[in-house]
Amino acid sequence: MGSKHHDESSLSGYRQAPDQDKRAKIQELIRTLSPDRAPHLIQYLVDPDENIRAEAFYGLSLIPSAEVASQLIPLLSQHDLQIKNLVIELLSRYGKEAVRGLAAYLSHPDKQLRKLSLDLLGKIGDSAQWEQIVPLLADSEPMVAVAAAEALGHLRAAEAVPALIRYFDIYPEMPPVAIIALGRCRSLEAERFLVEVIHRRNNILTMLVLDVLESSHHPETAQSLLQTLPLIPERFHPRLMKTVCCILKNMKKPAETYLDFESYEKLVFQLLQTDRIETFQAVFHCLSDSFLLAHFPELLKLLKKPNAEISLILLSRLKTINIERLLEYIQANVEEISVDSQRALMHLLDECDPACIQQLLKILSGSKEPTIRTMVAQTAAVYSDHSAFESILLRLTNDPEPSVKKAAYLALCEHPHQALLPVFIQGLQTLDFAICDACIHALSILQPDIIQEEVQKLMADGQVERLNLILTILSRYPQCAPQKHAVDLFNHPDATIRKAAIYAFSNVDDFHIQKLIEQKQKDSEPDVRLHAFYVLAQGPPERALAAITQALKDENYEVQLAAIEATRFFHFNELVPYLYPLLESSDRRVQVKAVQALIHLLGELGKDEVERHLAEMGEEPNTILSIAMQENEEDILTNETV
């Protein structure tokens, strides 16, 4: 089959109008699929229509055989990259079936075919092919020779190492690829040669050698590498050291058996300064406990670097070597240790004993970083029944950072006891909802009377904002409601306090208190009346009915609207007489809502009655009615959607 080059733009026309006839034919071929259909399918594989090609690809992928592979290989010379890729993908999928065919093309006159055959053999072949590939290392085309080296590397053909070494310099393009190929072969012979390459003093080749040797398992290679140190530029020294450490790590044997790290102390610390976790790990892993102990102060200085992962690795190990020295250093340098290291320390706490945890938390509670101090408070919460941890938390309740202060209070409230009473009272002085709530919770357990006293003090001092906050929270603690001061609170000159009092006492089951709330429906302030209504409407039905009746008579539109809305939830026909006057309201919203409520209470029959009333008032009944009905429908729709 001849090669055809199709410009991408010419394909677009086919994409818009796929050839249905061709599609039918190809689908028929797939339905009756067998290897003898391959030539037809291959014809469609080079079709200009992308969809036709995809179908042909699918059909061919189902009939992997050496015969079909041989027919596909010539298509590798296609200039159209999309078609070429389909062929490569098919041959890759054929795997072993394609190997023999590809091997036959290694001597093809077309260099592209030789090169692609080598690429594919590298992917799907096995090391048995090395003998067929080796001659191509000396191919007259550098492209082919380099592809042969790459293929041998992919096949990890240790037998090909001598040939790879022999042809290493055949072309100037060869060495980089040959280095990677030799590295993959992992033989000692290959590695010896690679170390020799470093002697050439070519930076790129040196870097490649050091990179590929990272996967070596030979201690001899590590030792020979160290001997090349004087040959390479100083900037590559850490890289070489990393490679050595990687090799020692791969051997899974004590590294100090092979290398005296003390002699390379400077390089080791240069590498440990890295931000790259894999480099750090490779080196750190090789260092013995005795080395680490001997260099404890230098290692501790690494905690100043901002790298969470490295800090965690470092601390996990140093902790096991000498925890006392570690704590001592952290205590003396807490301000200099990076936040990442401080955070790493927090993560390590689980593995420590309580005494160590307490000491670390004490140190870290002095951190400049608020998130660390918050973490300290949160961690101490687990142990807050221990007095030692309590003292840390007590200190943090005075922290300038609100989030830290909050975490400390919340922690202390987990295990309240009498000695902490002053702290909880102090907590009530804050204007933070969560702190006040936690302190009220603690006081409700320890001594509810204190809250009454606190409320009295706040009233006397005229501290409206704090009083309002505490009263709002008290709605959840009816047992702590300051009943002694109820009358004063309900008659407080500030409306926000009267409103807050309604909520503070809303759950108190006491006749006099309930009467006081009912009286608030006649407060001078509409907002207070409105909230009194809300609380009462949620009570027993008879109280709700009285509250709605009162609110319907209220002069304020908002109170009226809330009351009308409430009628929807009850079927109190007694409310009808109170709704009719609202049809005359000068507020359109009240009028409309009243119409809706009346129709709701009276049913469809009530509609005529409402219409008559509106007409008597001189209103155009249809207008209000239609608005009311429309809004009603919208409400129903909204409710259904919800």
Binding site: H79, L81, N85, Q112, K115, E173, I204, M207, L208
Partner: protein
């Protein structure tokens, strides 16, 4: 000054070699194994130069160059093709789509370094 160079190639060997060549020059490398990966990488990374292969699965080098030149038309990021495709039409098509240079694989490392240096200087 350190530059960021995106290397797009489905061959890990080429990615490794080009990375070393670029790092040796003191620049930083980010790599992608096909056009799709390159496009998604470009969404979050600013690069100073792109070196791409042509023949890659899923989304080839031509498609990648075309997409970059359309998507990032305000940024004249130098694009260098490195490919073993050496037919005149293929080279022409690469330039037509917006590539700045075309290097036929395999290449000598120093040749690639010279090209990188040249195009980075031009784009400054």
């Amino acid at each position: 000054m350190e530059k960021v160079i995106l290397v797009v190639d489905d061959s890990p060997t080429t990615r490794k070699i080009v990375s070393m060549i670029v790092e040796e020059m003191g620049h930083r490398v980010v790599t992608a194994s096909d056009g799709f990966e390159a496009i998604s990488l470009l969404e979050n990374t600013c690069v100073d130069m792109i070196i791409t292969n042509l023949n890659m699965p899923h989304y080839n080098g031509y498609q990648l160059i075309d997409a970059i030149r359309k998507e990032y038309k305000d940024q004249q990021i130098p694009i260098l093709i490195m490919s073993s495709e050496d037919h005149f039409d293929q080279i022409q098509k690469g330039y037509r789509l917006g590539a700045d240079a075309y290097l036929i694989k395999p290449f000598v490392p120093e040749v690639l370094q010279n090209e990188i240096r040249k195009w980075l200087q031009k784009s400054e």
